[in-house]
């Protein structure tokens, strides 16, 4: 087996290539910037006979996910992709897809929600889908986007999980950017990913009914079962990532630590912008400051324990959210982290920043400045609930 080469590939194309290697059966998607390249490439692969699948060019994202449920229900490996407004339109069905336990894999090219209409990156679309019961993670670079796509099918379709997965990646700053990555060979993927054998299938030979009426007497138990399922999926996620690491040498965890040894101040972020955050940590470490970065890769199921361990001993935790919860208590991730750490006997000061909305860039130097400013804020004892950064006053 020859060693795979390092190549340059646009991240959207990398995701599509991963889907091809996974031999997806049905792709049902609707175009929306900046996800378009993912589906276009898949359509191209199908047209050239390189991927044997049905491409359903549906008439809306709502129908895209509905068709995905239909195809997953008969046992087909199903993939879709969307962003922003498309995700918003799909949300009704997202709740249903996860409660019906359909292992659909969806790539989301994170993009801001209207109004005003904005096609550039932020996490507001992903945050809209927080409570839908899907497994969700955020990737940082092209290699990770590719690797996570391969892992997603294996995690989702595992009979102990049977839950759909959202793979969040930056719109434009990842989707339309050529990154260097090392792809796996088709054979390596085939060995890593078993075929899809669903627990239940719509088959006249063995009829079942999916989606009954959940009367009050049973609805609570049904939701409990769903919740337990997503919590239990964490063990499978770790297992699959560990296996991936063992086979291919790239190790992924729910929560990533960067230069956190002895750090008094920790910056927390998700997605592609964490590369800039890393640069800021390096800048400050060079100056002798004890700062580190915690990157949240797995967002749902929320890694409470990992975060408590990672952040519990810090003095100041700065959470950078790429989404505004308008009129809410703070950035979404900041609110969740505050909640996770609240019951600790000794807990850090938590500072919430919201920025990089609608594709606005936040530079390494700006992150460094935010970290330094936050240490002073935390020391003063009067921390605002949240602060929007980069606003022209």
């Amino acid at each position: 087996m020859t060693e795979p080469k390092r190549i340059g590939m646009e991240v959207s194309i990398a995701i599509s290539e991963a889907v091809r290697q996974c031999d997806a059966d049905v792709i049902s998607a609707y175009p929306i910037t900046p996800q378009t390249h993912v589906v276009e490439h898949l359509a191209d692969l199908a047209a050239q006979g390189l991927l044997d699948c049905e491409i359903i060019p549906v008439e809306s994202e709502h129908s895209a996910l509905s068709a995905c449920i239909g195809s997953s229900a008969v046992g087909a490996r199903t993939f879709t992709a969307t962003a922003s407004q498309g995700l918003a339109l799909m949300v009704e069905i997202m709740y249903i897809a996860s409660a019906l336990r359909m292992p659909i894999v969806m790539a989301v090219a994170n993009r801001a929600l209207s109004a005003p209409i904005n096609i550039w990156c932020d996490h507001s679309d992903a945050m809209l889908a927080r409570d839908t019961g899907w497994i969700q993670y955020f990737v940082e670079n092209g290699q990770e986007a590719y690797d996570m796509t391969l892992c997603s099918f294996r995690i989702a379709e595992d009979n102990r999980v049977m839950l759909p997965i959202t793979l969040n990646f930056d719109g434009f700053t990842l989707s339309h950017v050529v990154e260097s990555l090392v792809p796996l060979t088709d054979e390596q993927v085939r060995e890593f990913l078993p075929p899809f054998t669903p627990v239940y299938r719509l088959d006249p030979k063995n009829p079942v009914s999916m989606g009954p009426v959940g009367i009050p007497e049973i609805y609570t138990e049904a939701k409990k079962a769903h919740d337990e399922a997503i919590l239990a999926s964490r063990a499978v996620i770790d297992e699959v990532w560990a296996d991936f690491g063992k086979r291919f040498g790239r190790h992924y965890q729910a929560v990533e630590h960067y230069r956190t040894e002895g750090a008094q101040t920790l910056l927390v972020g998700m997605g592609g912008l964490t590369e800039s955050m890393r640069g800021a940590v390096d800048l400050l470490r060079d100056k002798g400051k004890r700062v580190g970065l915690i990157r949240l890769r797995l967002f749902r199921p929320f890694p409470h324990e990992d975060l408590r361990k990672a952040l519990g001993d810090a003095g100041t935790v700065i959470v950078f959210d790429r989404c505004l919860s308008t009129g809410g208590p703070g950035g979404p991730v900041a609110s969740e982290i505050r909640s996770a750490l609240y019951n600790l006997p000794k807990r850090p000061a938590i500072v919430s920043f919201i920025g990089a909305l609608g594709g606005r860039d936040v530079r390494t130097s700006q992150f460094a400045e935010l970290i330094e400013r936050s240490e002073a804020t935390a020391a003063s004892g009067s921390i605002p609930d949240y602060e929007m950064v980069g606003v022209r006053e």
Binding site: R101, M162, V208, M210, P212
Partner: protein, 105 residues
Amino acid sequence: MKRLPTWKEFPLGCVVTTPGSAVLFETGDWRSYFPRTDEDKCIACGVCWLFCPDNSRRKVPRKVKRPGAMYADYFDFNFKYCKGCGICAAECPSCAITMIEESAK
């Protein structure tokens, strides 16, 4: 359901693995009228059976035998499920069915 299930007892995604289990629910106690079939007038055409929304007409052997295989039985109602809508009485081509009040039984 004799005892309500615990959360662990639910199949994946609340899938119902027993199709046709609706028959466990007997809707017969809904009715206020029941259909009385006059065996003599019934020509066993099956129209009442065809038009019953609740599949509550069934073939029953005649008490008084009639010549011919088609006439060996006639159609009567299934008291466990019949909701007493009266469609059978309205559609019967030989007017063999009358709706009688349950309390008049």
